[in-house]
């Protein structure tokens, strides 16, 4: 097992600071007031009572806020790409939409005063009912169609069914928070919870029409993101406006109920999957259709059907999608966006087909997996060991021995036992990023990038990669992350973090070796002509591996070059390999469930996940990602559902008692393993991303196991005990 996280001690001792925890002199507090109607216009604010509360400094509304340059008029708002022009409109699109920010000396004052703010509205009609609305929304083709639908109209076996997934909420442990301060008239500094400091910096630069260099964004520790931190949300803009208004640093921390409406969620989705096979189980064709909810003011869309074009060899494939606009806040990417929902439809449908075919679902998948060529782009996969994941997973859970082909055939008292499996796949991306290395006189280095570590282990991975490359002991490698002043990097998301950073860190290591050779040559000429790869870093200095050692001390290097610090930066990104190959990570998930015949209770008592994510840079952090994703998958499968009241037009039960993500007691021991074969084409580390793939396919594996246990095919998530009982 690898050693723990670089940030582990800071996190468990509390010395690591999350956005809201920074002490900023003269800070005051903002509390958001949400609209109490789902649609309409604000006619008037009633602020008098709130203003009387001691300590209230100001209340900003759309009538008195400092204006955001990019929100000057309708036209510029459209161009800004920011869908909710917060405090720059009198329109209300959803209940809970921020309509005012109360700013006070203390959080308590602001909170109390915010409770006294009211508004009168002109109400308009609204719609928050996805289920009754989506049938009337037309589908449109998406992705590349293959073959024809006629070609398989006579398929020997066809599974054809509809699947539904409820609206799910990220709910990271850490509430979103922003502290904003105008350091000078044209310089802004933010401590902000997000997954990408450069993205926040760039967005604010666009909206305030000021140079990005004048905006510093710090997000050093992030208490979970799951996608909610990939966008800049209205509260961030409100905090910046407030700081402008009161000319003081302002802190805004969302409340837990606000976390349900102000930072996105996984949209509600409907799917229909029709898949056909010949009598031997070879897939002939698929029609995958989906619709998901979105907000009336936003154009979010996620590719739910994409996975059906990638995973299996299917000669005829057609995918169609649509979105359904509702008076709810905007959804966003949530762990495994699109594919996670799509895999539920696809992988359940394949399971249904397997029972029709009387074929083991493991065999059916092995027979049809497209491990050579990406069926969608027709490019060869750089690496795809999904078949090995399936084989290894089946072995680890002893599928052949325990899984019975006949549903509802294994009982222990009132408990029915069943096994299920499903596959997941996620594109293995990589972006361009920069990293820097700084060496101090004592020979310690720091590896730096603006990228955030949202709990994924990116920092630890970077340390591991630098250690592997330079041979400098890990305790002499510090990692600095999450500050927009550090070398630029994209956001931590889409499972691209480590894949992206590995390239940048290796490039920085190479640059560093070159620089050291150059600096050492001032001490010893021999270094002029060395291959930088030949340099070894020792306790006190550098030496050469092959050309007769020739040690040079750090002391000498710094002294002779008159340096206080050695500082390099390098940038690296994907290249031609993306033209030649398709890249993916894959996972096979196996679960064993117990279903109680009399009460409908479902207990997942074993999970096996086997993942192909290329070379595993840090097995502890990687396994941690996969088991966390598995628990997220359990939530999707069994417990998570945001209730929406169609008559009142809003979400209800917006707290952690009302919204049920799983707790530890719901999770069995999760047996995680990796194929571990490097993907030599993707990046220098050979590591493919693995943040999303752990959740993709988990929910269908559970649903399939419930079918195997009970003979009940449950196609609507979450599968709460009531659904099991009433099926």
């Amino acid at each position: 097992m690898a050693e723990g996280r670089v940030e582990g001690i800071s996190k468990v001792t509390g010395s690591g600071k999350y956005a809201a925890e920074y002490k900023v002199d003269n800070v005051c507090y903002g509390v958001i007031v949400g609209s109490t109607i789902p649609a309409g216009e604000i006619e008037a604010y009633h602020l008098d009572d709130a203003k009387e509360v001691a300590g209230v400094l100001d209340i900003i509304t759309h009538l008195n806020r400092p204006s955001i340059p990019a929100f000057e008029n309708e036209e510029s708002i459209k161009k800004s790409g920011f869908s909710l022009p917060v405090l720059h409109t009198d329109k209300v699109f959803f209940k809970g939409q921020p309509i005012a920010l109360v700013i006070a000396e203390t959080l308590e004052d602001a909170t109390y005063a915010a409770s006294l703010v009211t508004a009168t509205y002109k109400q308009s009609s609204f719609n928050v009912d996805f289920d009754t609305t989506h049938p009337s929304i037309p589908l449109a083709g998406t992705g590349k169609e293959r073959g024809t639908m006629d070609a398989w109209s006579n398929a020997a076996f066809v599974a054809d069914a509809e699947y539904n997934i409820k609206h799910e909420v990220h709910n990271p442990m850490e509430m979103h928070a922003t502290i904003a301060t105008w350091v000078s008239k044209d310089k802004l500094k933010l401590w902000d919870k997000n997954q990408g400091v450069n993205n926040v910096q760039g967005t604010l630069s666009r909206l305030w029409k000021m140079p990005a260099a004048n905006i510093e964004v710090i997000s050093e520790f992030v208490g979970g993101g799951f996608g909610a931190g990939l966008l800049v949300w209205p509260h961030v803009l409100m905090t910046v406006m407030a700081a402008q208004q009161v000319k003081r640093p302002v802190k805004v921390v969302l409340t837990r109920p606000q976390m349900f409406t102000l930072v996105g969620y996984r949209p509600q989705a409907w799917q229909k999957v029709k898949i056909g096979a010949d009598k031997d189980g070879n897939f002939l064709g698929i029609l995958h259709q989906s619709k998901h909810s979105k907000s009336v003011y936003d154009n979010y869309r996620e590719g739910i059907t994409r996975i059906s074009r990638m995973l299996y060899k299917i000669p005829n494939a057609k995918t169609e999608e649509a979105t359904v606009s509702l008076n709810l806040s905007a959804p966003t990417w949530m762990r495994g966006p699109g594919d996670c929902s799509g895999a539920f439809g696809l992988e359940c449908a394949i399971d249904e087909l397997s029972y029709q075919l009387k074929k083991d679902p493991v065999q059916l998948r092995l027979q049809n997996l497209a491990t050579e060529i990406d069926p969608d782009t027709q490019k060869p996969w750089s690496t795809n060991f999904l078949n090995e994941c399936v084989e290894k997973g089946a072995a680890n859970i002893e599928w052949a021995k325990y899984r019975k082909a006949q549903p509802a055939s294994v009982k222990e008292g009132d408990w029915m036992i069943g096994y299920g499996m499903a596959c997941g796949m996620w594109f293995a991306g990589r972006s361009k990023a920069s990293a820097g290395i700084k060496m101090q006189k004592d020979g310690t280095i720091s590896v730096e990038t603006a990228m955030t570590d949202i709990g994924t282990g990116t920092g630890t991975g970077m340390q591991n990669i630098a250690h592997d490359n330079l041979g400098i002991p890990k305790n002499k490698i510090k990692v600095n992350l999450g500050n927009s002043n550090l070398p630029a990097a994209p956001s931590q998301g889409g499972s691209t973090g480590l894949s992206t950073m590995s390239g940048a860190v290796v490039a920085a290591c190479n640059e560093f070796r070159k620089k050291i050779a150059e600096l050492a040559s001032v001490v010893d000429e021999a270094y002029k002509h060395v291959n930088p790869a030949d340099i070894v870093f020792t306790k006190n200095g550098v030496a050469l591996q092959t050309q007769g050692n020739r040690p040079v001390s750090y002391e000498n290097i710094f002294a002779k070059n008159n340096l206080e610090i050695i500082d390099v930066q390098a940038t690296s990104g994907p290249g031609e390999e993306r033209q030649k190959y398709a890249f993916c990570s894959g996972a096979a998930h196996f679960v064993r469930v117990k279903v109680h015949a009399k009460t409908g209770k479902v207990k997942v008592d074993k999970i096996v996940s086997v993942v192909d994510a290329g070379y595993v840079v840090n097995d502890k952090a990687a396994a941690n990602q996969i088991s966390g994703a598995a628990v997220g998958g359990l939530g999707m499968a069994l417990t998570e559902e945001q209730l929406v009241d169609h008559k009142l037009g809003c979400v209800v039960g917006n707290d952690l008692a009302g919204y049920h993500f799983p707790v530890n007691a719901d999770a069995p021991i999760i047996d995680v393993s990796f194929i571990g074969k490097p993907d030599v084409n993707i990046n220098p580390a050979g590591a493919k991303g693995l943040g999303e793939v752990g959740i993709i396919g988990m929910a269908p594996a559970v649903a399939n196991a419930i079918y195997n246990a009970t003979g009940k095919r449950l196609r609507n998530l979450p599968i709460t005990p009531d659904k099991v009982l009433m099926a």
Binding site: S115, K598, D655, A657, H660, D666, P721, M726
Partner: protein, 326 residues
């Protein structure tokens, strides 16, 4: 949160005298009250910290056991006497909340915790219990968690406590101190109310009333008692359905039975008819199934909670069966 004054109370007399004043409210463990205050559902002007004034011991009495109102839920659940002679109480307590909350929560506070109906918990939604006259949001809204017996057109909320289900089953008594320094005893079945026309009133605690203890009479149910709770996740969730079952057996013959449920009504609900049916019967699966069928005869589900009927039936059967293996 509205600014409030915080007063440390030294004696029960002081507590009940002050509690009678407008805007004064007691705080014990605070696990429910603080949530309600943060959400502006309860806005007291004065908080009376009664933690030092309340008894916090568990004692045996001539008739049974007395649990002081300030005994923490976890202390009660892990107490030897409760575990050995009143295991139903321990089981119910351990099925509730989370260890952290149980460490803070008091016995008195547990009885007085308010419903978890989502409409009650959000001041922007209609709720007759929180704001009389605004209507019931749940009755034709999200009522999956709501009642299936004893509700009214004004309110369909359920009482959230697990402990109270066990106390109802065991015929506990609530010991109350009021300003006139008299000790009032309210039998558990009469302590909580049905919503009727006044859903804002959860219980019959007098205005100046302080709960000082809960008495549980000695009983022969300790060998065969079970608590079954069905919920949306394995811990830290309120009951969809819960069943407290207890049998006194003579060989295989049921001398006496107790059955109560949570998640079904505005108050802890006893299934008297099924209890009467069980009396004198043999403790067999068939008997239990018949008892469960009698239980569900009384129920009348709402638009979104028809599932509670079969779930209740199953839970009653399982709870009675579990009594035999307790």
């Amino acid at each position: 949160m509205r600014p409030f004054t915080f007063q440390r109370i030294q004696s029960l007399d002081q507590a009940s005298a002050r509690k009678a004043n407008d805007g004064h409210q007691c705080i014990a463990g605070g696990t429910n009250l603080l949530d309600l205050m943060k959400k502006n559902i309860t806005v007291p002007e004065v908080l009376l910290d009664i933690t030092k004034a309340l008894p916090d011991q568990i004692e045996t009495t001539a008739k049974g056991i007395r649990i002081g109102a300030m005994v923490r839920n976890s202390a009660a659940a892990n107490h030897d006497l409760i575990r050995s002679k009143f295991p139903l109480v321990s089981k119910a307590l351990l099925a509730g909340a989370s260890p952290q909350i149980r460490n803070m929560a008091s016995i008195g506070g547990n009885l007085l915790q308010r419903t978890r109906c989502p409409y009650f918990y959000d001041t922007t939604l209609p709720c007759n219990k929180r704001n009389p006259g605004t209507g019931c949001g749940a009755i034709d809204g999200e009522n999956r968690m709501s009642a299936i017996v004893g509700y009214s057109t004004e309110c369909v909320a359920v009482h959230p406590s697990d402990l109270c289900i066990a106390l109802a089953a065991l015929d506990a008594n609530v010991i109350i101190r009021t300003t006139d320094k008299k000790e009032t005893i309210i039998p558990f079945k009469d302590f909580h109310r049905l919503p009727g026309e006044t859903p804002e009133q959860d219980n019959n605690l007098p205005v100046s009333g302080i709960i000082t203890a809960v008495d549980i009479p000695s009983n022969q149910f300790f060998k065969n008692a079970a608590y079954v709770k069905l919920r949306d996740r394995e811990s830290y969730a309120f009951a969809l359905i819960s069943v407290a079952a207890a049998l006194e057996l003579n060989g295989n013959k049921i001398v006496q039975a107790r059955l109560a449920s949570g998640g079904v009504a505005h108050k802890p609900w006893r299934w008297y008819e099924a209890e009467a049916f069980l009396k004198g019967k043999n403790a067999t699966l068939e008997t239990f199934q018949k008892a469960a069928a009698i239980v569900v005869k009384e129920t009348k589900p709402l638009s979104n909670n028809a599932f509670k009927v079969p779930m209740l039936k199953g839970a009653v059967e399982v709870a009675l069966q579990n009594c035999l293996n307790a």
